[in-house]
């Protein structure tokens, strides 16, 4: 529901004299917020800034003309979703009066408050939102550079890489092995690799039943592990093998041309389809904007998701250090709403409202078999903290109806959030 100007001003504090009103309105009509990134963080920020500020000038910069979501892209690999269903255009945002520019953000000048684009244009902004996702630390994993990704796809940014991986899986002979390498260091979507393994196993079970899935992991445990293991056993038997770090799962080198992964203890795994999830860092524009720290990620003030280093720049989603919030689309969306409210308040010279975040990570283990983990968070002392006793994870003892309900909840979440953000179903 579109907030009226009056509602918004009332919400921002009683006691605001009528004499102040015209000045506030003028300031907001003149202000410009630029948003970099048209995904779960950026598009939500643009959407909610518009909802809170009918007269604010908002520009969204996104290189892709259509956004393909990482969430549910694994279901496309498993052939449970088609490409169109995970692709979203920007006309819905345009209809809300947001200018959408399909170009790449190239540089940020924090003191001059300007943004340079790949098409040569410069945008002056009053506030800047960066939601650039992740970029890869090419070469950190020996043998895995940008060229290698064309042979052994990562498909960790949804788009052509996802389609490439699916084509490779479809071309694979029955009896082949799909090998997935899970990196050291923080990466987007902690349960993502294990949902992908599940979806590939589903495709194999139904089309290439002699095939196998091998996960080579850099850690000894993973998100929702007991739930995934239980589902894998029930649905796929012994088809999925997971090798943790202590069992020689850590990969130190890959050869994309031979689709070989080499572990720390010298074991060579030859794959028929090799999926390497490389080490990651914040999207490149974040470093150029001066908002990253020595970790390669972006520290932010948790009560408003404003950069710790560059005032006036707000950073959302996977690029940020927001633990214990995971790197997820759901979190980026929640953070964007908080940032939009904070920017709105800031433009009116007010402190931001209290920040509250929720996240639910849905994973599909198989058709009709969904699992999830949820958390509620708030800001305390500049950091994100989990609200004690909040959230939960799907119970291990649950019948098929419960798993089906969770699968339905996940699909429902996806449909409603995409409609809310991009205005498409």
């Amino acid at each position: 529901m579109r907030a009226t100007r009056r509602d918004m001003l009332l919400a921002m504090g009683a006691g605001m004299g009528t004499l102040a009103l015209p000045q506030i309105l003028r300031a907001q009509a003149a202000a410009h917020v630029a948003v970099v990134g048209g995904g779960f963080g950026g598009a939500t920020a643009a959407r909610y800034l518009r909802r809170l500020n009918p007269d604010l000038r908002i520009t969204l910069v996104e290189p892709q003309e259509q956004f393909v979501t990482c969430p549910f892209s694994n279901l496309y690999l498993g052939r449970l979703r088609d490409w169109d269903s995970i692709t979203h255009g920007f006309d819905g945002l345009r209809a809300a009066g947001i200018e959408v520019i399909h170009a790449r953000a190239e540089d940020v000048d924090g003191s001059a408050r300007s943004l340079g684009l790949s098409n040569g244009a410069r945008l002056d902004w009053d506030r800047l939102v960066l939601s650039p996702g992740i970029d890869f630390r090419w070469g950190d994993l020996a043998g895995y550079d940008e060229a290698a990704a064309e042979l052994a796809p990562h498909a960790w940014k949804a788009g052509p890489q996802t389609q490439l991986l699916r084509r490779q899986l479809e071309a694979m002979e029955d009896g082949g092995t799909f090998v997935m390498v899970v990196p050291q260091g923080a990466f987007r979507c902690p349960p993502g690799p294990y949902e992908r393994a599940s979806m590939v196993a589903h495709y194999f079970k139904t089309h290439k039943p002699r095939s196998r899935v091998l996960i080579l992991d850099s850690q000894d445990r993973f998100a929702k592990q007991p739930l995934f293991r239980q589902g894998w056993q029930a649905l796929y038997g012994e088809m999925i093998e997971w090798v943790g770090q202590s069992d020689d799962g850590l990969v130190v080198e890959v050869d994309a041309s031979t689709r070989t992964a080499l572990t720390a203890f010298g074991t060579r795994h030859k794959a028929d389809v090799l999926n390497v999830i490389p080490p990651q860092k914040a999207g490149l524009i974040a470093e150029r904007a001066g908002v990253t720290d020595e970790t390669g990620w972006v520290p932010v003030r948790a009560d408003r998701f404003e950069s710790v280093h560059v005032p006036g720049v707000y950073v959302l989603g996977d690029a940020t250090i927001a633990a214990p919030m995971p790197k997820s689309g759901f979190c980026a969306n929640a953070q964007a709403k908080v940032a939009a409210a904070a920017i709105t308040a800031d433009l009116a010279g007010r402190e931001p409202p209290p920040a509250s975040f929720a996240n639910t990570c849905y994973s599909l283990v198989g058709p009709g078999w969904g699992i999830s983990v949820a958390g509620v968070y708030r800001a305390e002392g500049g950091k994100v903290v989990e609200v004690a006793g909040s959230g939960g994870v799907s119970p291990l003892e649950a019948g098929p109806e419960f798993r089906q309900a969770e699968a339905d909840h996940g699909a429902g979440w996806y449909a409603s959030i995409c409609a809310d953000i991009w205005g498409t179903a």
Partner: protein
């Protein structure tokens, strides 16, 4: 916000993992993040770490060179943080490293481990994996045969990945 079933409740993930043959973390993890109880508490400051360092140096001047300490700036998996310590100056029969200690300043027991080398080793390059209770400085000290004590220090931000871990 999406609603979810009323059967949702926080699970003892580790009990579940054990039942499925998974790993039981005998952890030093931050209490809030674990499904189990622990008496592990971080040090309130670096006093104990400083004491260990002073004991190692035994009055020798501590030089901030010649020793490299490699560890990730962000510890997304605090249960196993890879840490490499190596002496960067040449190891020779005349100049070799006899001992290295690694200190995790704010861990319940800050002394993480000790290494002793001999004249036969011919190098001083070791890597281990540490479990860290929170963000903290990590340091290493090396004693050379000529009595010099070398040190290196890095800060690590501990930020567990989240999402049902």
């Amino acid at each position: 916000m999406t609603s979810f079933g009323s059967d949702m409740r926080r699970r003892d993930l580790l009990a579940g993992a054990a039942a499925l043959g998974g790993l039981a973390a005998a952890g030093l993890g931050p209490a809030a993040a674990q499904a189990q109880s622990t008496t592990a508490m971080p040090q309130i400051d670096s006093a104990e770490a400083d004491r260990l360092a002073a004991e190692f140096a035994a009055g020798a001047e501590v030089l901030s060179q010649g020793l490299a300490l490699d560890l990730p700036a962000l510890g997304d998996n605090p249960a196993a943080v890879p840490v490499r310590v190596h002496v960067t100056e040449p190891i020779t029969d005349a100049s070799w490293c006899s001992e290295i200690i690694v200190i995790a300043d704010l861990n319940p027991g800050p002394l993480a481990c000790r290494f002793r080398f001999t004249a036969a080793t011919g190098s001083a390059d070791v890597t281990v994996r540490l479990r860290l209770i929170r963000s903290m400085p990590v340091r290493a000290y090396a004693r050379m045969e000529d009595g010099r004590v070398l040190m290196a220090r890095r800060d690590i931000t501990v930020a567990p990945g989240g999402c049902g871990l």
